[in-house]
Amino acid sequence: MPGSKAKPMKTRLSNLLTGNQSRQGLWFLPMLIAAAIAFFLSIRTTQFLAPENLFNLVAQAMPLVITAIGQMFVVVVGGLDLSVGSVISFTTAVLALGAPDYITIPAVFALAALVGMTNGFVVTRLNVHPIIATLAMQYILLGITRLMRPVSGGTVPDIVIRSVSGSIFGIPMPVLWGIIVILLAWKLLHGSRFGLHLFAIGGGIAAGTEDAARNFGVSDKRKIMLAYVACSCFAALAGVFLAGRIVSGDPNVGLLFELDAITAVAIGGTQLSGGVGSLHGTVIGALVLALLSNGMNLTNVSPFIQTAIKGSILLLVVGLQSRKKMGL
């Protein structure tokens, strides 16, 4: 590519700090940022380390963690899913329809899979840019959600509410959710052939050789489609969690969630050009955002500066990751 020069070999430490040469991307620096915020809060405030606050932190972070993990599947193959926010709102609206839980709960995942499949189909088979395809889906799904439920209301099935509150064997339910989701995502991304193929496909796309993975026998289009399905299903999972927390259906609960999810993924060191990223990075990225909002509440800092700090961290972390390719 124009302008790229051969760089001298760097030390391992500087590689760790900048994420250069790493398939996992820049996750170390975000971890330091998260640790620094947590350390700062624990000495500045007495409430931060209190069990109730840590519980709140996990419960508040969980929808973002789940959505960001889903988003990562798509980002790794060089895509982007702007429809996850609408999927979340849609899920809460379906759950609050008043139908029996053994119908609505499987239904939300089936519908989310359908949304993901449509996104994936349009992107891979009809050759539409992911930003455009998922943006259109965002509008359509938001419209349907608002038709179903113009304002928030209704009640979600009892089992959904019980699944996010209280605790089992002394483990609070949100923490349990986190453990299960992370284990599931780890299995899919780092412990299966599917995940390996996603990284291979994304690496090829980032290097400008889109056929690379296919030439090695990976059925790339089907795998990319499945990545979109996974993304939508994780978003639906976040929607179920949120529905349990707010106990009703809300057409606006997922608004702009996609931007937060992308922010978390990017802060966690996953590159939007594809092929580079890690699950722990994404979780750390979501935690940084959650710690920021939690810390601002505890230290009574104006909540309005929080947005600016969030943007600055995003710009800083992403600015450190130089790529060869110019563009999206």
């Binding site: 590519m1 124009p2 302008g3 982007l80 349009v122 009809l126 050759n127 539409v128 840019h129 930003i131 455009i132 395809a133 943006l135 259109a136 889906m137 965002q138 509008y139 359509i140 799904l141 938001l142 419209g143 349907i144 959600t145 608002r146 038709l147 113009p150 931007l259 992308i262 922010t263 990017a266 590159q271 939007l272 050009s273 104006s302 309005f304 500066i305 929080q306 947005t307 600016a308 700090i309 969030k310 943007g311 600055s312 995003l314 710009l315 992403v318 600015g319 990751q321 130089s322 790529r323 060869k324 390719k325 110019m326 563009g327 999206l328």
Partner: protein, 318 residues
Amino acid sequence: MAALLNRPLAQRIVGIPPAYYVFAALLFVLWIARPNMLNVNVMGVFIRQVAPLGVLVLGQLLVMKVKSIDLSGGGIILLVNYFISSGIFAGASLAFFIALALAIGTFIGLFNGLMIAKRRVSAVITTLAVSIILVGFVQFLSSGKPPGDVPSIFGDIYNTKLGPVPTPVIFWFALTLAMAAFLSRTVFGRYVMSVGESAEAAHFSGVPVERTVILAHTLAGFIAGVAALVQTASIAVGSVRVGLDLPILAVAATILGGVVFGRGDGGVWGPFFGVLSFALLFVVMTAFGIGEPGKLIAQGLIILLAAVFYGVRTAKLK
């Protein structure tokens, strides 16, 4: 299907950006169902509403032609709107506000361009981060409360008409003309085309790729500053939410106009009609009494169909 698409006539027909079809179809629907709405006064009011979007689209199409994207326009509009309506520059002249808006836009565009072309940072993330920072900055300055009134001179200019046509519409049209001439008659316009086709080929042909991308983003920022002025003039009272959905709508209108990340077939007039289609869609939906959800669904379907239409075509060309 494939054989049919390879016919010269079929090629010609699919070569027309979808915006023209959508515009013609909506006009036809309106002509059949509500012919009384098709007069200059009614249409002028609706088209005036999309003038800020129309101006912003001119910048968006420029960066999308060089395979980039700019999502920071919303932040620029919000910041300019805040500066004008909050009264921190109380008593300043119109010229001062115009210079301020253009300077803010240009500076932010230049920053975007440097980050994207020199640092090679993802364009989506950079411009998204810049927008988040600007929105946060305005929220911080205003503590989330709506600022104040926009100086009345803005509204006075906005409400003038040249004959039957509102001034903002003429301004938008003139700016589009200028952009079309700029892209077709200058060396920079050629550079934009060649970078969009292939950055690598452009580089080896001696096109300053980085400089072209930086300049495209700087111009897009400048245009966002102009759009911010038009948007501010269109509302009498300042707001902390104004213009936030405009960048993504601008992307949608640009795609509808046939400019899809590097494929610049739609020129400048495709996106122009893309914006007009959105205005007309709004008229049609209002005329039939369809609410906001229906508008969202229709908008999404139109974007999707237009993009599919284009995607299938580019796949055949490969």
